[in-house]
Point group: C6
Chain length 199, copies 6
């Protein structure tokens, strides 16, 4: 998929799946970290995000701030530097909790410098302890992923029953991973550190 | 109960009981503490919490900030680090004071590293001095706890009369503790430090 | 009165009197001070307090911050530590200026470690210089105090005419002090330091 | 006047004049300064003040912060200490710019320790450079001052024409000073430092 | 003009021109700077200013913060000291961008200690780079300036065509300067440093 | 074009293109940086900008804070100094994401001291990773640029199809660059450092 390949070429970008008025769509979560001593601090959220989606970003960041070190994601770089999470397109309102694991992945990619795999898209609410909670719109999201050339999709374990409603051709074409903990998401979606170093 | 066992496996998560439009339900209060020098500070509250429930979280935190040391909960770890309290599911609005003791327990578990017992659920308003005040929906909450496989429930002492309205089979199946002070809650709900060390 | 005895057993809690939709009632103002270096700061107000009641708490705190030292209440403990004032029940909206002297008493008790006398309840607006200003609902409040087993009530001097409307049996049963300055309130309501040390 | 004498006995309180729904009335502006290192900072405003009246308090404080030293009012005590301005009664909404000179006087009294003369009341908008600007309700305000036993009133120079509408008996009974600059107000209203020291 | 002479006698005050419901009027922009270590910080805006007018004040301050040093206006005095901009009368709502150059002039006067010429009034929007942009109400504003005894008016260059609508007698009586950059405004409106020293 | 030449003569100003109620128009994004120790901090946004346009400014600043150093734009000057972005005219409400690359260019010009080319105008949303995203109103914007004497226009690559709707005479007259990454924008729009030094 040319678009997700271009978008995720740099660390800090992950591919998500959303339900829109016109079916499903691919979206990109972008994260950046201000250089030290450039005057920023805290978490900046843009992309016309609604309350629930803003909370998802806070959960993703808190998860990494508390669990990052034991998972191998350096978080000491976060002190006194602004973290910015943006979800294009800038003028389109977005809401809901289902970008939780995508936000966590984008931030973990940013912190580790490991790019996200371009062929992977994901959807799932994340809890503060890293549990992956079920979301809606599985069928539309898988159709959208397939249309966009995505080959691997990460879905919440508890959404397994929803796969019955997805056309068999789409299920066949996609490698679908059912995940219960965001650590599985990070293992599957982030390129190994060595690949990143070579990138 | 598989779900509460999974959820409360790590310190910082306590099982509560809520009244919803469709009877009662089990909910999980999750608390996390940012690693030192990761740029956060203060209390972050997520889960679409209403005003009263946000105040409950502030009361729970203030209780531990002032009484924690004498009760054996270390609070010096709270300086300059963000505390985050989240109540999944992220998109479901929640309100009311009855998660007060659950929030206190989740935070005390987080501070002490002692996990919460997986078979225990609780409901009760907490005051700033640790008094446990009565709540509503006792019947629905006990039915929900029973359905979810919970075996021990902590209720406010002043809700004792409401037990008359609970089916005898449910009362029999559950070990119900009536509590007047949140210290009793912490004694009953937190695993001993040694068990936690072994976990 | 068992309830106010339990409630005011620790320093930082004072018994007030309020007018509610159903006559008068006893309420408890609880104050706490975060331990040093536990990440809090400023004044936290909970209990669904309205604008006027929140201002009362600010006035009570400012009074002690400016006059505390000359009255013997140590205020240096307030630097960089969060003060929390809560008025249970958490879900019941409350407003009005008449808890002013109760809030001042709760904070003075907290700062000095001197518990408030369990048999004393009070009502009165407080000004920034410590003047006690008149309030409404004297009759309902005295009836409520009497019902709750309170034996001593502190009222604003300027409410003296309202005592005419109170049943003689209630007036007889209560020891009523008419006060013009909050220093009189503190003298009457706080247990002496030696009693506190012995408590 | 017993009330203004009691009220203004301590530095930091000045007597103002207001128009209310029921004619004119005397009001008291109270100012306090937190002791050093008691956790407060900035300007706290209470008394259900409207936007315009809050701005008056900011103007009064800024005037003293910039002009205080040249007028002999020490302002170095303001660093890192909360200034609180309150206007009882706490539950009565108040608005308008005409308490400007009263607020400036209360703050100047607080900073200098010089009490305000108990027989003086005042009304007038103040500008940031200390100009006294005209206000409304001169007749009602003078009648109220007279009723309250006030003997000296400070009015804006530009309100001189409004004196024609005031009953001659009231004008005779009062010593009325027309002022154009807030320095004249401070000279007339504050007791000399020596008197204050003796107080 | 007695009023503008009195008003602008101290540095930090500039005379502007406004359109009101009743034609045009003269207004005064007052600026003050808190003494060092008096507890203030940032920009305080009063006078019931609307959003656009508040933004004008921010633009004026930012212009001087970035360009002040190269224009000879000392800005190091701004660190950690509150800047206050007030536009009397305090209770009259005001809005619009046309006080931009007046605000810049008041602030530049304050920083340099050079008083503004009492015979000069001005109107014009200012951009962040100091461009003077056109405004409305030229005719009413010039009539008001003339009525108030002003003899010199500064107008945006791009408002030159609007002069056709102004009565010839007024144009003759006034010295009108058309300005394109705020530096021209400052040159024309501020008294030379030597004159200020002598003042 | 005289206007854009005057406007962009100093670093920190870039020429954008907007759709207004009356077709298209040229707009100028102005950026300034407060001198060190002049009391400002953070990002100040003025010009009656709507939510989406404010977010564009935050994205532009975050892009430079994180990517600036590797692109040769010094960002260490941003610590503890206020950045101000203004879009005249001050009273005209503006919104939308299409000024994103213009804002990035203005800020990059400010940081580098390299002025923006006066003959260049641009339109395009920018993402946090510097992707240039498509915008609306291509035809009106190109007509406006042509009318204003602009000779070079930068458009998002993904808007190429919209060029079909633009009159051939306008397309011929303009040098149109289709850009996919904001680095291309900066290369095309900023004058080389040597030219800037000579300016
Ligand atoms: Ca919402
Ligand atoms: Ca498959
Ligand atoms: Ca509410
Ligand atoms: Ca049982
Ligand atoms: Ca209210
Ligand atoms: Ca009695
Ligand atoms: Ca108002
Ligand atoms: Ca007289
Ligand atoms: Ca507006
Ligand atoms: Ca002329
Ligand atoms: Ca909007
Ligand atoms: Ca061409």
């Amino acid at each position: 998929t040319p678009e997700s390949a271009e978008r995720t070429a740099v660390p800090g970008v992950a591919t998500g799946l959303a339900v829109t008025g016109a079916g499903g769509d691919v979206l990109f979560v972008e994260a950046s970290l201000a250089e030290r001593d450039t005057g920023g601090a805290g978490l900046v959220l843009t992309g016309q995000l609604g309350d629930v989606m803003k909370e998802s970003a806070q959960i993703a960041l808190s998860y990494l701030r508390s669990r990052g070190p034991e998972l191998g994601f350096p978080v000491d770089g976060l002190a006194d530097r602004a973290v910015h999470v943006h979800v294009p397109a800038g003028a389109v309102p977005k809401d809901g909790p289902s970008a939780g694991i995508t936000m966590t992945t984008a931030l973990a990619s940013l912190l580790s410098g490991r790019p996200v795999r371009a062929d992977v898209a994901m959807t799932g609410e994340v809890s503060l302890t890293g549990r992956v909670l079920p979301i809606g719109g599985v069928k539309q999201k898988l159709l959208a992923a397939h249309r966009a050339g995505i080959t691997t999709v990460l879905l919440p374990q508890r959404n397994e029953p929803d796969l019955d409603g997805v056309p068999e051709s789409v299920r066949e074409a996609l490698e679908i991973h059912l995940v219960g903990d965001v650590r599985e998401v990070l293992d599957l979606a982030l390129q190994p550190a060595t690949a990143a170093a070579a990138a």
